[in-house]
């Protein structure tokens, strides 16, 4: 009995971990270019709400995801313009993006003629694999019980890891985030690189927001992300800027998110605020553990030029 509760909550940790993973993976790419975008929460809401609207109009999840990604990327483009072109403080710009995205979602979601709060998506996703495979012990619910978005997120993790650490483009990306002046001298455009990956980060957040609203909750409410964007932001640090670690970490954070329900079922009661804070506590603990080992600290620390605007004249 308890086993199946555990198994079910692990499976749902994967589900709730998926928007965290998508948004976190995007933010990770952004940060590898040296841009810090604190606006993940805003981009999830802003991209998600348009993706959700799409799903209420037309029964296609791929279309909803693509629209959500596109709008998220546009929001990120605002940040890129402010942070890369105008070189304003990235913390201020990111926080402004949170407010903008939240306000945008509230406006779109509650305006009378759309009335998104009452709308429902026209379709929902089915598990990719057949019943037989889903009923396999253990791996059934954990590995074969999911919809295609979950498998796509796994694929994206693999692509990101390969892209970052095996390809020439990834090398250039990391050089821009580590040492933009050096990248500039070898002919890599710092500005273009930072724009592109900042917008890729926004696309990830937009997809995460769309998946959350369309598939997990199947509804839109004001502030529906409830801090998941911030958890995605913390995920990047917790994962040490490594995609495969982000995969594991997203599900850990997802499990923490579910822990409240699980504990309730098991008869214990822990205030949900405490549980909601746990991802951040875990991130700090991870930072402390990593910083205690200098070699690991070097390997899993932030890109050296993170959040520092680059300008040729000021070196």
């Amino acid at each position: 009995m308890n086993d199946s509760v555990l198994l079910l909550s692990l499976a749902s940790a994967i589900v709730i971990g998926t928007p965290i993973l998508l948004a976190g993976l995007g933010e990770m790419m952004t940060e590898h270019s040296g841009v810090m975008n604190l606006g993940v929460e805003g981009m999830m809401l802003g991209g998600g709400v348009v993706g959700f609207w799409m799903s209420t109009q037309y029964p296609s999840m791929p279309l909803a995801m693509a629209v959500g990604a596109g709008v998220g990327a546009l929001f990120a483009g605002i940040h890129a313009y402010l942070a890369v072109t105008l070189r304003v403080n990235q913390i201020v710009s990111g926080l402004a993006l949170v407010i903008t995205g939240t306000g945008f979602a509230g406006f779109v979601g509650s305006s009378n003629d759309s009335a998104l709060i009452y709308a429902r998506p026209k379709s929902s996703l089915e598990p990719v694999f057949g019943e037989g495979m889903q009923e396999l012990p253990l791996v059934g619910p954990l590995v074969f019980g999911h919809d295609w978005v979950v498998y796509m997120s796994w694929l994206l993790v693999a692509v990101a890891a390969f892209w970052l650490f095996r390809t020439r483009a990834g090398l250039a990306l990391r050089a821009v985030g580590e040492d933009p002046a050096t990248a500039d001298t070898v002919g890599i455009s710092v500005g273009v690189t930072r724009y592109v990956y900042t917008m890729i980060g926004g696309a990830g957040a937009g997809m995460g927001g769309t998946y959350l609203m369309v598939e997990i909750f199947a509804t839109y409410q004001h502030g529906i992300t409830a801090g998941l964007g911030w958890i995605a932001f913390a995920l990047v640090t917790f994962a040490g800027w490594r995609p495969w670690r982000a995969l594991v970490a997203a599900y850990v954070f997802g499990a923490l998110r579910n822990l409240g329900f699980t504990l309730q079922i098991l008869g214990a009661s822990v205030p949900s605020d405490v549980l909601n804070a746990l991802p951040f506590v875990l991130t700090i603990v991870a930072l402390i553990i990593i910083s205690a080992r200098p070699a690991a600290a070097r390997k899993y620390s932030a890109p050296s030029a993170l959040s520092i605007p680059y300008s040729r004249e000021i070196r």
Partner: protein
């Protein structure tokens, strides 16, 4: 493509048949002029470089060596003049273009990504790296190039794990990997230990023997004599001359390098008092963790200016910082009067009467964003009348600023204006005003007139002389030989963190100073030097008592 990463001899030959007369010419710079803000850094400089030679570029700081190299490396575009590579006139708009023409430069500040491996740094920006960077073939190529030129370094090591000397090897490898045939090394030995420098020389010779052309920038005579085939001397942005190194006479080179007539003004000497600042056996690390100061002994008496001469980067900054307490000293002692201040804080040293004019006046001298009133109060705000308990009296701060403004002739001040907008001369006057108004017993002044115009230089020097006459002991660190000769009552020369010689300014000639600054001890100074260095402990006690 593994076999021969440097298509060397093949490119050189077809050109020769066309150019005819000059078969070995790799590069020729003709009448290069380059000005910054109207000040010429290069003035119609000619320079030529042959395949297979190591050509040294010798000169003081500011002589225009780096500018000339940067023009050839495509970093600066010359105002006028021509660049010929391999007999063909070229226009180099960027370092990328220079690289395509086979010209590459190793800068003093390395352009390496710290957290990347050696192999990754080589692959970065290299046009022939495939989309998927194959680590193994890359690492094999790095190892092969390394073996060929004695540039061994592990391809898998991250840059931050390497010593400075190894990082430099990576910079050279990076250029060789891109097929560079004309290699410019800008003061490459400045950051190296003597052993590392020797190994670099071996590499340079191997490359020259391979037919490549190397420009070696240095201000160190010994190195130039040891490694180069030819030498060109620059001074004040102009070419003084070129010669085969084998025919060069060290003393003549030193004279060419320092050159200008040093007009000594009539010195008003004052009687020096007792020792106000004594430094004994001071050893300290530089920023890179290598010893930048070694067993330095110094003494500055009341009413005395001791001038520290030397080419920048030979321990001057570290010496000043150690004395004022901004840098930890590893060994040795520092005395203010007869009090040991080696382990005291900067604040305590200030309270005991130590003043400091830092070399970088905007970064460490003044808080550039604050108005001048606040900057002038930065040291005095702790005591009344400026401080009233936990508060600072705005009126007292402004009154004080106005008094100092008049007294030190600081001009063009609007009070709310950020200090950084003032001219260099006024900023320097303001720093001196702040420091001297605290009535210091000892003043450490680093590069007090660097970058100032003539009038400001005169004013600052007069302030220093007046202060000396009033009894202050002044340790003046300067690269400007004229200033050293003009103001000092005693001259010491720093070279690689050690005191190379001590001179009376009346005995100092450009040749002697030039030789000492370039790391050569002439006979006369060898014996003068032997005295004070003989027994640090004994000297410490005797000078302490005599106070």
């Amino acid at each position: 493509m593994n076999g021969d990463p440097t298509p060397a001899a093949s490119t050189a030959e077809p050109e020769t048949s066309e150019a005819g007369g000059e078969p070995q010419e790799a590069a020729r710079l003709h009448a290069i002029t380059k000005s910054f803000f109207g000040v010429p850094a290069n003035d119609r400089v000619d320079f030529d470089l042959r395949w297979g030679e190591i050509h040294a570029l010798l000169g003081e700081n500011g002589a225009g060596k780096s500018t000339l190299c940067s023009v050839l490396a495509g970093l600066y575009h010359p105002d006028s003049g021509e660049i010929h590579l391999d007999g063909e006139r070229v226009d180099l708009a960027s370092p990328q273009q220079a690289l395509e023409h086979g010209v590459g430069m190793v800068y003093q500040h390395f352009r390496l990504v710290d957290r990347f491996t050696v192999a990754e740094n080589l692959a970065l920006g290299h046009p022939e790296t495939g989309f998927v960077a194959s680590r193994r073939s890359l690492e094999r190529q790095v190892a092969e190039l390394g073996r060929r030129y004695g540039l061994e370094v592990s391809p898998k090591a991250a840059i931050w794990q390497l010593s400075v000397g190894e990082q430099q090897r990576v910079e050279i490898l990076k250029l060789l990997y891109r097929g560079v045939r004309i290699l410019i090394l800008d003061e490459p030995t400045a950051v190296l230990t003597p052993q590392e420098a020797q190994s670099l020389f071996t590499t340079m010779r191997a490359m020259a023997a391979d037919g490549q052309a190397i420009i070696f920038v240095s201000h160190k005579l010994d190195e130039v004599l040891e490694v180069s085939d030819r030498v060109t001397v620059l001074r004040d942005g102009e070419r003084v001359g070129s010669m085969e190194t084998a025919d060069a006479d060290p003393a003549a080179l030193a004279r060419m390098m320092v050159g200008r007539d040093l007009s000594t003004r009539a010195r008003s000497r004052t009687e020096a008092g007792s020792a106000a600042l004594s430094v004994k056996g001071l050893t300290a690390d530089g920023d890179r963790g290598i010893e930048a100061l070694r067993e330095v002994d110094l003494e500055v008496r009341e009413s005395q200016i001791v001038g520290v001469a030397g080419v920048a980067g030979n321990g001057q900054r570290e010496l000043a910082e150690a004395i004022v307490g901004l840098r930890r000293s590893k060994r040795g002692q520092i005395f203010l009067g007869d009090v040991d201040i080696t382990r005291t804080s900067t604040l305590q040293r200030i309270k005991m009467g130590l003043g400091f004019v830092p070399e970088d006046r905007m970064r460490t001298g003044m808080a550039g964003g604050l108005p001048l009133t606040a900057n002038l109060a930065l040291k005095a705000y702790r005591q009344p009348p400026l401080s009233k308990g936990p508060l600072v009296s705005k009126r007292a701060v402004e009154e004080r600023a106005r008094t100092l403004e008049k007294q030190f002739d600081i001009r063009g001040v609007r009070w709310a204006m950020p200090t950084s907008l003032l001219s260099g001369g006024n900023i320097q006057r303001a720093i001196l005003a702040r420091e001297l108004s605290a009535r210091p017993k000892v003043l450490v002044a680093a590069a007090p007139t660097r970058g100032l115009d003539v009038a400001a230089i005169e004013a600052i020097r007069q302030i220093l002389l007046d202060e000396r006459d009033a009894g202050t002991a002044i340790l003046m660190i300067s690269e400007d030989l004229e200033e050293i000769m003009d103001l000092s009552d005693e001259i010491v020369v720093l070279y690689e963190g050690q005191i190379m010689g001590r001179l009376d300014p009346d005995d100092a000639t450009p040749e002697v100073l030039g030789m000492l600054m370039a790391g050569r001890t002439s006979d006369a100074d060898a014996e003068a030097d032997a005295g004070p260095d003989a027994g640090p402990d004994a000297a410490a006690e005797s000078s302490g008592d005599s106070a």
